[in-house]
Amino acid sequence: MTLEVLKDRRNHIIKKRGEMEDLPACEKESLAGAVSQRACVYSGARVVLNPITDAIHLVHGPVGCASYTWDIRGSKSGEAQTYRHSFSTDLQEEDIIFGGTEKLYRALNELVARYRPPAVFVYATCIVGLIGDDLKAVCGRVTEETGCTIIPVQSEGFKGNKTEGYKAACDALFDYLIGTATGDNNYPYVVNLMGEYNVAGDFWAIEPYFKEMGVRIGATFTGNAKVNDLRSAHYAKLNLVQCTGTVTYLAQKMEQKYSLPWRKVNFFGLEGMEEALLTTATFFGNRLMLDRAKEIIRQEKKRIFGPLIFYKKRLQGKTAAIYMGGAAKALALIKAFKLLGMETVLVGTQSGKRDDYAQLMAEADDGTVIIDDANPAELAEMLTTLKAGVLVGGVKERYLSYKLAIPFVDFNHDRTSLFAGFDGLVNFARLVDTTINSPVWALVRGKFERNAFI
């Protein structure tokens, strides 16, 4: 590798060559000063819980953490809009000195009185961990006094990275919501969708297929979710886990406690959709359901065949780079690009695990560079060296990509285009085409016209 990287970062970057065994170093704390694209524990917890639409999300700490996370994600709601508000205890210097529990207690009482929410999530920030506010005790007290479910989320920012936050969110759901209400036990075909956040309305794009197969969706973790749907989630017969990075831990806990099996799925891409529907039907062992799934797949494939060929013709032979938060989406993207006749030259994630990277390695072509917890300088160098034709990433990568004259597609939580389901794939192809085939890149690479007016 010719790229110049910090010494402690070198083994986080590898190039696939044949049947090599090596994986990039991963599951480590971000290197200080390396400008990681990762966020913190609180951020991770917020990502998982924020889409719960009718809950109050109260950030216990100074105002910044709440400010920066106010309505910045694209998770849609069909009804309640409470989750789009930003609630903070806005701790001041005197609260830091004398402790923030009293303010938190009063804040919770105010919130419960005014909004009568079905639940309040209380997020711990760095400072709360440090000054030793007993979140659990305050939440317990208010729950007892008001009858409203107040859920502590132990997401102190310094506890680790985003992955710790996912865990904190899962623990909150598992300990305080799941199993607190009874559900309908009569219908045999109920699934939960886990790690599906209804970004840009993704959930609504896949829901009809399940309906058509006779499968009822019990709860979604957590896209377009309501608190009470989650309470009886343990009544489902199967957990379908999409965003593995965020919720596998919860699926495992539910399996242990409720003997509720889970399967990995992905609702992005042709292969993903096909597998998701077939996996579900096969699990239930219902012949009719399986036939219906196959019929849906046949019809939908036929329906989107034309548009996909149209875009494939316009994209074939281009190269792509992928930098995602988690590995599930990255993997699905490699497959999607293959389908469009594009080769992935770079794939990376903020917080992939060893198993994830093994899968990415298996799916990637020879010569693909694989990177863990990249920083902007590394990304810039690699995108340029590897001549990426498009980058798929999040907002932080967008303007880096633009400055390098590399087309860009946002596939993060703040995107506004839905990518799930069969139409989602066409949508994705359309956006890749939009950015790759824009006239702007020719202008950028063109020379200054001297003789324009002669």
Binding site: L6, A34, V41, V63, G64, S88, L91, I96, G157, K159
Partner: protein, 432 residues
């Protein structure tokens, strides 16, 4: 609500410090705290300016918060120096490291001795998030930089110009264009080219631009100084006057006719020069634009809000010149100066969050909102237009290219406000 801030109309201090350090040539910033702080602030800034924003973090973990963050901060400094090869590094604290009690000055000095760093300037600034807001953090970072860099010297015919408010890269360019016609000057911090950067043939790790370190040193040799902003920046005016003997005054942001007049008059007084003819021409163009618009804007009711008191006051001033009624003037972070200045408004809200502001907005008749992107919910609910100014602007392009200063900027503003009102009223002919 008394104990909950609902939809905050403010952000935290380190964010402002990052912007300030971005205005020094060859500088980069480390946020001393957990990884999330720097990432969130990068996200917020990159959304607003549509530029890549690199900010390093000391990425503290659980152990560091117990035993102190010295080792991590040193490692961060080492890596940033190796990777970015900066001339200067700003180190901002966070609520976490302030509460831990890390002595950042000591850590930095140790680092410099241990690694024998002589050619890179490192400037720590204390910016806890549990006090103040973005603009305060900005002013603290400017103060820290001046304290480290500026030297008192023999006074020369030079003007130091320092913003102490939320002004855009394009507005920095406009201020520089004007002052250039009067007197040699040092504008600090100058983030015009680093936060509104062009397309580069080859992407530099640190964007070119920013006030030269040499120039910051010479601030103490300027005979006069102007601080842009009257609600903040008291610390900066004091510093210039008392420590460096620079005769400094604070001016309102030059938005609208009267405030721009004050700006030009001050320049004329300081330099003893008459105002160049082309500015007098621009002034008359503005008068013409104001006359054209006056019947459209007269009596229209506007609510103006934001996290920066100076910008809110400046916009209110222009609205009054347009004959508008400022129904609400609202500033998020508590600001004594703002309240004392007395905005020309029916109702002044400070401190305020968007929850209280929305309640006030619901209760009064309004034609227009002016403020940052977060006003979009109120605009939608009330079904009136929102003209986006200030920070953050996350749902429109060109935040860094917005320019409302001087007669020129005001002319654009007058048309924009009048046209927005016309658009909303859906008039099909002219307004005669």
């Amino acid at each position: 609500m008394n104990y909950v801030t609902v939809n905050p109309c403010k952000t935290c201090q380190p964010l402002g410090a990052i912007i300030a350090f971005r205005g020094i040539e060859g500088a980069t910033t480390i946020v001393h705290g957990s990884q999330g702080c720097s990432t969130y602030m990068r996200l917020h800034l990159t959304h607003h300016f549509a530029e890549p924003i690199d900010v390093a973090s000391s990425a503290l973990n659980e152990k560091d918060t117990v035993y102190g963050g010295a080792a991590n901060l040193k490692l961060a400094l080492k890596n940033v120096l190796a990777r970015y090869k900066p001339a200067l590094v700003g180190v901002t604290t966070t609520c976490l490291t302030e509460t831990m009690g890390d002595d950042v000055n000591r850590i930095v000095n140790e680092f410099k001795a241990e690694e024998q760093v002589n050619d890179v300037i490192i400037i720590p600034v204390s910016t806890p998030s549990y006090t103040g807001a973005m603009v305060d953090g900005f002013n603290l970072a400017v103060e820290a930089a001046l304290n480290v860099l500026a030297e008192e010297g023999e006074k020369k015919n030079c003007l130091a110009v320092i913003p102490a408010a939320n002004i855009t890269p394009a507005e920095i360019r406009e201020i520089k264009r004007i002052i250039e016609d009067f007197i040699p000057f040092i504008f600090f911090p100058d983030y015009a080219d680093t936060l509104d950067a062009p397309f580069f043939e080859e992407l530099p790790l640190i964007f070119p631009g920013g006030t030269k370190i040499e120039a910051i040193k010479r601030v103490g040799s300027c005979r006069n100084g102007i601080i842009l902003g009257v609600c903040g920046g008291k610390n900066l005016a004091q510093l210039l006057t008392e420590k460096f003997g620079v005769a400094a005054c604070r001016l309102p942001l030059p938005v609208g006719l009267k405030a721009t007049d004050i700006f030009f008059q001050t320049l004329a007084e300081i330099t003893g020069k008459t105002i160049p003819a082309h500015y007098q021409w621009e002034r008359r163009l503005l008068l013409d634009a104001l006359i054209d618009a006056h019947v459209i804007t007269y009596g229209k009711r506007v609510a103006i809000f934001g996290d920066d008191a100076d910008l809110v006051l400046a916009l209110a001033g222009l609205a009054v010149e347009l004959g508008m009624v400022v129904a609400i003037c609202a500033v998020g972070p508590s600001n004594e100066q703002f309240v004392r200045q007395g905005a020309p408004a029916e109702s002044i809200l400070n401190p305020v969050d968007f929850d209280e502001l929305a309640q006030a907005v619901r209760k009064t008749r309004l034609d227009l909102l002016m403020g940052n992107s977060k006003g979009k919910f109120m605009a939608k609910e009330k079904n009136i237009p929102l003209l986006r100014f200030g920070f953050p602007i996350h749902d429109r392009l060109g935040a860094g290219r917005q320019q409302i200063f001087s007669y020129r900027g005001a002319i654009q503003m007058v048309d924009l406000i009048a046209n927005t009102i016309l658009e909303n009223e859906d008039l099909f002919v002219s307004f005669s």
